[in-house]
Symmetry: C2
Subunit: 357 residues, 2 copies
């Protein structure tokens, strides 16, 4: 089969981690007889530098006509003084909205070989940690009306509207329950329904969707409690489903408790099979070009692409197994060994994983 992948190499370490991912995907293609076509499209800081805008229309057009998008990372201090609506991060928000990527899946798992890296005590994560945060990605306060108004006595004010419609909640809840069916059959929905009207609607709709999944256990947690429970006892979670804003916070907290943010992939899915795949980590401009970047998060994002967009479960697993083997063989990138001299470089890491396919 032929698969068309639009590639945003992006900024900082983005191009380096994407290069290794393409290397691994090509190896998978050879082995399993698929051909992956990669088309580079600019977005983020690189696009600002090249064409003066963070998300050129042509990028959106090509992304839409592709089967999937692979993205490295965008942004960096270089573009700190660019006006707000053209900051590199706007490219991410623009891609999410234009491509209808309403479901963001962020697995937070601890690799056995890297369990020591967690900031949590060993007894808290012993037995393993494997959570998926399902974050709503095209609604809520990110995309609600925003602006300025008069704040009365208190002077000029600014506002942002958090808003959810039933249909938006229903479709993200379905993604979470479908995911839970393939995992440990537990969904935790996180909201702030003791304060927010939008959360009350969220909670009601999630409960309705739950009725179609009698085999899945549903828990509701307030967001403040969820932030505590992730630190206190993260092993209680299987799938967490939540709004765009709460998901931003909780998925980063969940990533951090694994201690290996350089390992964590993500998928942003639209209706149907289309998706955008990117590492959870950022563009880390401080280590760009030094060979210290860990490409594994992006390589594993490539595996998610094979599984979720192309339906190639076996091929995806071959990548995950290759990463596991890399770790079990004792190799470590700089971030995983405190920069010890025996660290393998970004390229070596990609080579070793590709060789394991």
């Amino acid at each position: 089969m032929n698969y068309n992948i639009a590639v945003v190499r992006g900024d900082g370490i983005g191009p380096e981690v994407v290069a290794e991912t393409i290397k691994v995907l090509e190896k998978v293609g050879q082995k399993f007889g698929h051909s992956f076509h990669f088309t580079d499209v600019p977005a983020g800081g690189a696009a600002i530098d090249a064409v003066g805008e963070c998300l050129p229309a042509e990028t959106v057009r090509i992304a839409k006509s592709s089967d999937a998008v692979l993205l490295g990372a965008v942004g960096g201090p270089k573009w700190d003084n660019v006006p707000g609506d053209q900051r590199p991060e706007r490219a991410l928000l623009g891609l999410r909205k234009e491509l209808g990527l309403f479901a963001n899946l962020r697995p937070a798992m601890v690799f056995d070989q890297l369990a020591d890296a967690s900031p949590l005590k060993p007894e808290i994560i012993s037995g393993g940690l494997d959570i998926v945060v399902v974050r709503e990605l095209t609604g809520g306060i990110y995309f609600g009306e925003k602006g300025h108004k008069d704040g009365g006595d208190m002077g000029p004010a600014a506002y942002d509207v958090e808003q959810y419609a039933k249909g938006e909640v229903r479709r993200i809840a379905k993604v979470a329950f479908d995911m839970a069916m393939k995992r440990s059959r537990k969904v935790t929905s996180v909201d702030k329904s003791n304060v927010l009207e939008s959360s009350r609607l969220w909670r009601r709709v999630v409960a309705e969707v739950a009725e179609d999944y009698p085999g899945v256990e549903l828990d509701n947690l307030y967001v403040d409690n969820a932030a505590m429970q992730l630190v206190r006892n993260p092993r209680q979670f299987d799938v967490i489903v939540t709004s765009n804003m709460f998901g931003d916070i909780l998925s980063d907290e969940a990533s951090q408790i694994t201690g290996s943010i350089g390992m964590l992939p993500s998928a942003s899915l639209a209706d149907g099979n289309f998706g955008m795949y990117e590492p959870v980590h950022g563009s880390a401009p401080d280590i760009a070009g030094t060979g210290q970047a860990n490409p594994i998060a992006t390589i594993l994002s490539g595996a998610m692409m094979l599984r979720y967009t192309f339906g190639l479960g076996e091929e995806a697993k071959s990548i995950e197994d290759a990463v596991n083997r890399f770790l079990s063989d004792g190799y470590r990138t700089a971030d995983l060994c405190g920069g010890a001299p025996e660290a393998v470089t970004t390229t070596q890491c990609g080579d070793l994983i590709a060789a394991n396919i």
Copy 2:
């Protein structure tokens, strides 16, 4: 001096922890020659049961005419089916708004004697942990307009408006900077200014206020990053200042990393000296009446009351020292020793701390 304190004993373990706090405050009064007058007022579940509403007007009136409010905890599953606008938690929101309690101070500190209780690895908190989260408490999405509207294709929608005016940000920022001046002179302001208009205003106003405090270092963090940093390296923080919603989440996360939520007090301050003082923990109805409740969070809230509302720094310190001595003497309430048989009861804890004054 005479001090008038309105007391909301509240629900669950609330009355028990408040009783021990009053015991300790009376001992302080005797020793230092102050007289504290306590006036019980109903709020929360107890008020629903007694008079059919969670926050009777008389409670607000008496609270307003007092010098300070001491609150145990409100809420519990018993009132889960009460209509939304009369839920026990509404009493808290009502008190905050009616009393103008715009500044919520939540210290998250690790007691040397209890450092083991933290879920974080010892090397992460070694050297101690002492953060204050300054949370804006009467604005933002908690008190913005909320309601229902048509969500177009996606069906009926619900919304909540996050809103901040300059004056609101300015006064909470001042509280944070004043606090930092008495501590390690570092303020971290947390927002989501890469997405929210209200956060951009927040960040600008905080920067303006910072100009009046040249000796204080100001950092800005996005909320997702802050949630990560609290787990990765909490010792980087001194004072964190943030909005109502982000403060709800981050202060709970910060409390949890100490591992001793039964120890953590809070203060909610108005302009001037008026304040409401309450433990960070909830009403824990499951252990109400068993003698297992830890009254220390409330006792330490009493100490904050002496310091912030009454300006009695030495007296406040006498309580904090008495708590420290209790811990150093090896006493533990049930929550601090996994319910071991040698645990002291709520009353014994209050007696021992009062005796240390």
